[in-house]
Amino acid sequence: MTSQQLSAFELEIAKLIVLALKLKADPSFIEPEAVLFGDGLGLDSIDALELSLAIAQTYGYQLKSSDPEIKATFSSLRALARAIELHRTK
């Protein structure tokens, strides 16, 4: 629940999500393991597209639906941050 649970990079990604999707939320309060889509933050496929764009522009990582890991990547803030760290080119 608290910001201490977020690593510095997770907080960076949380800020990216909030900015890219114009959410009215405090990034440090996004629960790292909570689901991002559906009932969690309530994001939809248009958000996924917006978010993928922000990730491509900031980190040079192009998301693919055909990637078998894609569902896991988008499952939570923590998983997304881990995937970006692994695939980033900038």
């Binding site: 009215k24 009932d39 996924a48 597209l49 491509a56 522009q57 055909s66």
Partner: protein, 447 residues
């Protein structure tokens, strides 16, 4: 001409569709359609929820052969599907894994493939009712719009002719839009199969998915998409294979974005104007035309300040949900949305209807949906002001998610002790605007 062929002039071995595991020939398609049609239950209508564009087409065609109507819900929100199920009590559904939806019995596509049937393209009577596109009505109940085979075939042919699909040598179609949406059905299913093109079965979302789908499709395919996907492809810096042409719809494309897309992808960018009640009715090449040109066979009619669409394939005049100005014999300009109408990512709704659905949520005493002033080109989301003592934002969002297409979910949803209603019970626009401004200022520290 009292009927039209199910598909265009394919040779039996021509590739009609591209599935993730490879091509489907026209012969394989027709066999799959006939096998499925034989096994469908004897019911008047079908909710076709199949994810693959190709499998959807197999289901749609098989239903037509059995003279069954395919239902196109405006969203998959559980409450929407439940209402359609109640309304169309004797329907069944086609689902990927055969799970029933809200007690509607489900049918799975048979796995058997192969070219077991002789080559014979069936013909469908033009007057046959083949689909119902639901729109959100003023009462909150989904409103059915009946589509004849004539309407779908006419729009597919008129659109292909307007774009010059054959002259440009386009052989395939890739689409990012859903095939259960009216524009998707017309441009990404009917257009390719009536023109004898290869239809990509996928629905690419990310720029990298669009690149992969175009790579699997014939060179210089038609890309059927939306301004959001186009913008993402441009900004993500993805290198797309050569495209024949681009067709965009669902929300207005700015001429700046269209120009950038034409330059980057070396392809003309066309736009379609349409709405579920009438289908596609006009087009323009966005970089050069401000005015929309009616498709062949479509005419405008006026009655006072209201404009209507008239065509031989629609039963009567259909009101246009936007304010327009007629600028020539077959051209018009869009001035703005009609009062109360919103269009979010290609889905239209009336704020009044959305508000009614909000008020049906348990624990909501008062509430209203509003569209904040958005920046040009960016996606605007709706906002809701809600009075619901003892309830949290999450409670209400959760209840709305069951009822509404997710694109209409309010972002943000603001809980208030009361709404600024005047003595007649109305919500003055100015009071709402002030409330929104104040809310924006108070919450700006959040980000």
């Amino acid at each position: 001409m009292l009927d039209a062929p199910l598909i265009g002039s394919y040779c039996p071995d021509d590739v009609l569709a591209w599935e993730p595991d490879g091509p489907r020939s026209a012969r394989e398609f027709l066999s799959a359609v006939i096998i499925l049609a034989d096994g469908l239950p004897d019911r008047p209508s079908v909710l076709n929820l199949l994810t693959s564009r190709y499998e959807f087409l197999v289901g749609f065609a098989a239903a037509m052969l059995r003279r069954q109507v395919t239902l196109l819900p405006q969203s998959r929100a559980p409450e929407t599907l439940r209402r359609i199920a109640v309304d169309q009590e004797s329907c069944y559904c086609l689902t990927d894994r055969g799970e029933p939806v809200h007690d509607i019995p489900a049918v799975v596509l048979p796995a058997r493939r192969g070219s077991v049937r002789p080559w014979n393209i069936p013909r469908i009577p033009l007057h046959q009712h083949v689909a119902i596109a639901f729109t959100s009505g003023s009462t909150g109940e989904p409103t059915p719009n009946l589509k004849t085979w004539d309407a779908l075939v006419s729009v597919a042919r008129a659109t292909a002719k307007r774009l010059g699909v054959n002259a440009a040598g386009v052989k395939g179609v890739v689409a990012t839009v859903p095939h259960q949406h009216m524009f998707g059905l017309e441009a990404s299913v009917m257009l390719p199969v009536q023109q004898g093109l290869t239809m990509h079965a996928g629905r690419p979302l990310f720029p990298e998915d669009i690149r992969a789908a175009l790579t699997e499709s014939p060179q210089r395919s038609l890309l059927v998409t939306t301004p959001l996907h186009l913008r993402a492809c441009l900004l993500a810096g993805v290198r797309l294979p050569p495209i024949g042409m681009i067709l965009s719809a669902t929300s207005t494309l700015t001429s700046a974005l269209a120009r950038e897309a034409e330059q980057r992808f070396h392809a003309p960018v066309h736009e379609i104007f349409g709405f579920a009640e009438a289908g596609s009715v006009a087009s323009r090449r966005t970089v050069t035309d401000e005015d929309w040109r009616l498709l062949d066979g479509v005419a405008l009619a006026r009655n006072g300040s209201h404009a209507f669409i008239q065509t031989p394939y629609l039963p009567g005049p259909v009101p246009i949900p936007d304010r327009i100005a007629v600028t020539g014999r077959a051209t018009f300009r869009v001035l703005g949305r009609a009062e109360d109408q919103v269009n979010i990512a290609g889905h239209r709704a009336s704020l009044g209807d959305l508000t009614r659905q909000l008020l049906e949520v348990e624990g909501v005493h008062d509430g209203v949906f509003i569209l904040p002033d958005g920046k040009e080109g960016s996606l605007s989301r709706l906002m809701a002001l809600v009075v619901a003592p003892g309830k949290t934002q999450e409670d209400i969002q959760h209840a709305l998610r069951r009822r509404l297409n997710p694109v209409f979910l309010p972002r943000p949803l603001v809980l208030l002790p009361r709404l600024p209603r005047n003595e007649t019970g109305k919500l003055p626009r100015e009071a709402l605007r002030q409330l929104m401004e104040r809310w924006k200022d108070e919450s700006s520290h959040d980000v």
